[in-house]
Symmetry: C2
């Protein structure tokens, strides 16, 4: 039995989802020869009641996890790009495997991460949970698309804004009313800028572009238009054309090595493809030279869906799968017969 | 640079697709530290002209590949369940990795394969190409769904019959006329029984059920109804209900460890989900406890799509990914809170 000691930094929605799955499937993992133990969980407030496994230590200093020689893998689910960046970088420097759901952190520190992970002895770095919740988007690029040549990636990558746009489209609600409802239901943050401004979708678009083309885009140079200027009347106009409005993140390899990308609300046919993906569901369409088109659809957010991606990364790590890091080599841009 | 010598047994549509991809992406794989060489190809007729890489030896006896100590991995793409079974079983016994697209072979020899692959020292066995062409169905079960608990798998798993049903639905063609057209175009075999009788879809349904639930179904006990009794008038009736007809392979875990499965033409809504998947495209819907529903759509057949799955398996093998074999442990049926 291979024992894997896990330290969680953060115990919010996603973290608690992953911990619940690890407990629920404990016997399954044991029968695969893996014994996951949640060894420590770093939280802000130790007194808050939580469903933490027996024997697990609560700590308030993340260094208590990152510097603990008994911990094999650090799961960073605190979010943000401040302390979380320190947590991830320190863990990697201490040769601990890292699993994270933090798309903003990855997009903001992409060059440094790529350099750190390029070392042959680099630890496992899992980030399936960072894009598309429980949809296997990252592994599809890391495994299946390694045998292909991607020309376009486009999709609905943010559940909050898709929930809002779906409501506006179906019920004619105003932007302000639907935002308030989403906030009341906990689907949108009190400061909703990251979602409605398209920043979250842009981070994800940049991550998928790196996986797809081996090209690192400067996030700040990627055109970004959120949904905060979309009005009820826009849906009425779209409807006249048999269309609806979706916030899409798009990247295209127009020539070998030349990648363009943007995030923007777009009018799309309402009776097929992305136009039929409603609510918190995410979708990505991958166009490629050999396979033509692959479509992946599923829950793009939430405690258990995103938790499955954290846990599937832990299984990959335990199984010593080395195909974890950023997938496509830059050299693919020179592939002979690509046009 | 890790050198991997490949022996192909068979050089038909799928084999030549994989060989073309290996050549096209040679530099990409080199930059990942892998040097694939197609060392030998076993064919029926050496005199037939083929786009075989320089330095590759053509042979007519498969033992010349399976017993060659220089060959690391045997790619079985000859098809059928006769000699192909000998090829795969001998290769595994000789501790060679095996990559195959042969769903009938797997379904027919499932118990023996599982036993062979359960040994800790068992070689890599890749079969992404056996189900869903270039769609990453197998790896989704092997990686993402390991962190979940699957309750239902359903989909369009046979491109030939979906092409035929799509034509019958859109153009009102008779079964006989559309079968003749599919045969003339090379989409259907001269003996089309495996496709139109639902046998191919049943093999795939059994494979996905094993991956999903860890339960091995007896193929011959799985209910199977093909499309050979579907008539034009059936589409007219379906249309009255806003439906169309699709050949679905379905398995459900109704209680922990209790799995039912069938292959049958079914009336499905024609304006959403599987009802909108036409032509040679395949789709699988995976319902699970944590992620709820995941939908994977893409090309389910063809030289290059299926070739990408062969090649992505070769990359996984070269990267020593041990998560290749049949995924779900049987013990998962006892997961505590499943209902």
């Amino acid at each position: 039995m291979k024992k894997i000691n896990i330290g969680f930094v953060g115990a919010g929605t996603v973290g608690m989802g992953a911990i619940k799955i690890l407990e629920t499937k404990k016997k399954d993992f044991n029968s695969m020869g893996i014994d996951f133990e949640v060894h420590k969980v770093c939280v802000k407030d130790k007194s808050k009641e939580r469903a933490i496994p027996a024997g697990c230590e609560l700590v308030t200093d993340w260094k208590n996890i990152v510097e603990d020689p008994n911990i094999d893998v650090v799961v960073e689910v605190m979010g943000g790009t401040g302390i979380a960046t320190e947590v991830v970088m320190s863990a990697l420097k201490n040769n601990k495997a890292v699993v994270t759901a933090n798309k903003a952190l990855i997009a903001d520190n992409f060059a440094e991460l790529l350099e750190t992970l390029a070392r042959p002895e680099a630890p496992f770095f899992g980030f399936e949970a960072a894009v598309g919740g429980g949809i296997p988007m990252i592994s599809t690029f890391q495994i299946q698309m390694r045998a292909d040549l991607v020309t376009e990636v486009s999709g609905i990558l943010n559940g909050t804004t898709n929930y809002m746009l779906s409501k506006m489209s179906a019920e004619g609600m105003s932007y302000e009313a639907v935002l308030k409802e989403a906030q009341d239901l906990g689907f949108a943050e009190s400061d909703p800028t990251a979602d409605v401004g398209g920043y979250d979708a842009r981070s994800k678009t940049v991550i998928l572009a790196q996986l797809a083309y081996g090209v690192l885009l400067d996030e700040n140079k990627v055109f970004r238009q959120g949904i905060d200027r979309v009005e009820t009347i826009d849906f009425e106009y779209a409807q006249l054309m048999g269309k609806t409005i979706k916030l899409l993140g798009v990247s295209q390899q127009t020539k070998p090595g030349e990648v363009t990308a943007f995030v923007s609300p777009m009018a799309v046919p309402n009776d097929k493809g992305v136009g039929q993906i409603h609510g918190a569901t995410n979708v990505v369409s991958i166009k490629s030279q050999f396979q033509q088109e692959t479509l992946l659809v599923g829950e793009g957010a939430g405690s258990l869906p995103t938790g499955t991606s954290i846990v599937s990364d832990l299984v990959r790590m335990a199984k010593a799968d080395q195909s974890s890091a950023f997938a496509q080599p830059k050299e693919q841009r020179f592939t002979a017969d690509f046009e």
